[in-house]
Amino acid sequence: MQAEVILTGIGGQGVQLCAKALAMAAVAEGREALLSSHYGGEMRGGQTEASVVVADAGLRSLPILPSTWSAFVMHPAHWAPVAAKLRPGGVVVANADLVAGELLALDGVGNDLVGNDLVGNDLVGNDLVGNDLVGNDLVGDDGATSGCARVLVAAESIAGELGAPMAAGFVLLGAYASATGMVGTASLVAAMRDLVPPYRAQHVEANERAIVAGAAAVAPGSHPVWTAVTA
């Protein structure tokens, strides 16, 4: 079995760190992983994207994915080409604070459903924007994201409440891992601890709280990767 996720955002949101933590956690759990990162010369604000492929064994994948089972969306700026690669039956885990409107706009659905005032923690933090609210068929006119499930998480709001606004990416990562079961929360925390360099050690505890809070914000295993994906 093999499954992919494309992570997209803008520089400064921690997308590359999240992708590496996910890939390292998968390897720590005995799986194979491939991580392909893509970012420009800028540190902040530019396009940043990463692909993680996880397999039980015999991983075989192009470093630039032709298609993906899932997406992790921190920012809408570079989301459109990722949306075009989503396969039906996949899942999108998105930072509702920034992305919800874009997701729905792409799908030809009005923004009012998940407007900013509706995307507080109460509504979205608990994965209320699953199939019930948004429906199973958030299909774009081109059908690109046909049949993909949505998990919208107010990652920045949750990170803000934790006093760790920089850790919003880890909130979304915790949510992604919990909803899909791609890796365990403990493995993610361990990978994050390995990755954060000594001079950033002061952020480790906040990052851990963010991962745990993200995992708690969604229904565990609501969109399981290892049963949904076939090799």
């Binding site: 590496k20 890939a23 390292m24 390897v27 005995g30 799986r31 194979e32 992983a33 491939l34 991580l35 392909s36 990162s37 893509h38 970012y39 420009g40 010369g41 530019g46 396009q47 064994a57 991983l59 192009l62 470093p63 630039i64 032709p66």
Partner: protein, 361 residues
């Protein structure tokens, strides 16, 4: 137990260390910078030296000096920085000083630079173009071996996808066979007897000990490069049996082409792919044999540049089938890697369009 997750640059650095590289010098430039950083961390741990030079020119000349003293040494950059190094690479080729140049290129536009010499004089550089990180590890060790075997600078043609992709890799020291002694090395072992040695292009020697002279020197070098061309070409093929359409690509483009070949085979197209693993020497004989053996109606060349390798493909195919470009210039917005053309979907579209319109012979 899966292999540990390693960035391509780290894996190449480990492979270089495993191959015995103990001197590295370079100047940072994406996407090469990570390799320099890994070498800076690893070489001191194994008793080696890594210098962050003040420029590419200084870096390559440091490497020339270390290699002339007998060390396994390497430098690198992307094509822009390697352009600056060409004089030293040419001197090394003509003076027979072995080292490895890592081109972590920003795309596929350095094919001519890698395969045509680049400096002055009659020389070539053995150039390996890995398809992925795993192969880059193999190639790195092989390039140090070939450099020493032939006393010549060699080139790894990598890119962003090689340098920045993380995957499970195991780096093991490979035994590639015996090598000649470096009895030419300027390592001080003559004990200050005053019998200085020269490594000098014209090979004139000294008045009291004349060398073979420039004519003999150049002829010997030409024979050496002819010998390399005849014996060191490497290639790979994918589903070429019965292929009516043959796609030629190199480096990290090749897995994308192979992916498209598999897709189109599933749709009933008789299509295959051919990859030069060594860009120089270009595997002319293997490509010619592949074209001659099958019902090849056309050869399609996919390279992410304005058309460079296609010259070598045309020379090898030599009119046995039409040769058509299906690649082109495509640069990512960051300028650091290939753009949108390097995708399975884009390649598939171009291949399908070419299949629909096979030119008449």
């Amino acid at each position: 137990m899966p292999a540990s997750l390693m960035q391509g640059s780290a894996a190449v650095a480990e492979a270089a260390v495993a191959a015995g590289c103990r001197f590295f010098a370079g100047y940072p430039m994406l996407p090469f910078t990570d390799l320099l950083e890994h070498m800076a961390r690893r070489l001191p741990e194994v008793g080696g030296v890594c210098m962050n030079a003040e420029s590419e020119i200084e870096g390559v000349n440091m490497v020339l000096g270390a290699a002339a003293a007998g060390a396994r040494a390497a430098t690198g950059s992307c094509g822009q920085g390697i352009a600056l190094m060409q004089e030293a690479v040419a001197e090394a080729a003509l003076n027979e000083v072995p080292f490895v140049v890592f081109n972590m290129a920003r795309g596929q536009q350095d094919y001519f630079q890698a395969t045509r010499g680049g400096g002055w004089g009659d020389y070539r550089t053995i150039t390996l173009a890995p398809a992925d990180v795993g192969e880059a590890v193999e190639h790195t060790q092989l390039l140090f071996h070939l450099a020493d075997r032939y006393r010549a600078p060699t080139v790894l043609y990598g890119d962003y996808l090689v340098a920045h992709t993380h995957m499970g890799v195991e780096v093991e020291q490979r035994d590639l066979g015996p090598l000649p002694d470096k009895d030419w090395a300027l390592d001080g072992t003559r004990g200050g007897t005053g019998r200085s040695r020269q490594i000098w292009t014209w090979a004139m020697g000294r008045t009291d000990a004349p060398g073979p002279g420039p004519d003999a020197h150049w002829r010997r070098l030409a024979d050496k490069f002819d010998g390399i061309a005849a014996t060191e070409a490497r290639s790979a093929q994918h589903r070429t049996d019965d292929a009516e359409h043959l796609i030629v690509s190199f480096g990290t483009s090749a897995p994308f082409v192979d992916h498209v070949v598999d897709e189109l085979r599933a749709d009933g197209h008789r299509i295959g792919s051919f990859r030069p693993v060594t860009l120089w020497p270009f595997p002319e004989a293997a490509l010619a044999a592949t074209v001659a053996a099958g019902p090849c109606a056309q050869v399609l060349v996919f390279e992410v540049n304005a058309g460079q390798m296609i010259d070598d493909v045309r020379l090898a195919v030599a009119g046995r089938a039409p040769v058509r470009p299906i690649g082109g210039v495509s640069i990512d917005g960051s300028g650091m890697r290939q753009g949108a053309l390097l995708s399975a979907a884009a390649i598939r579209d171009r291949v399908l369009a070419a299949i629909e319109e096979v030119p008449s012979p």
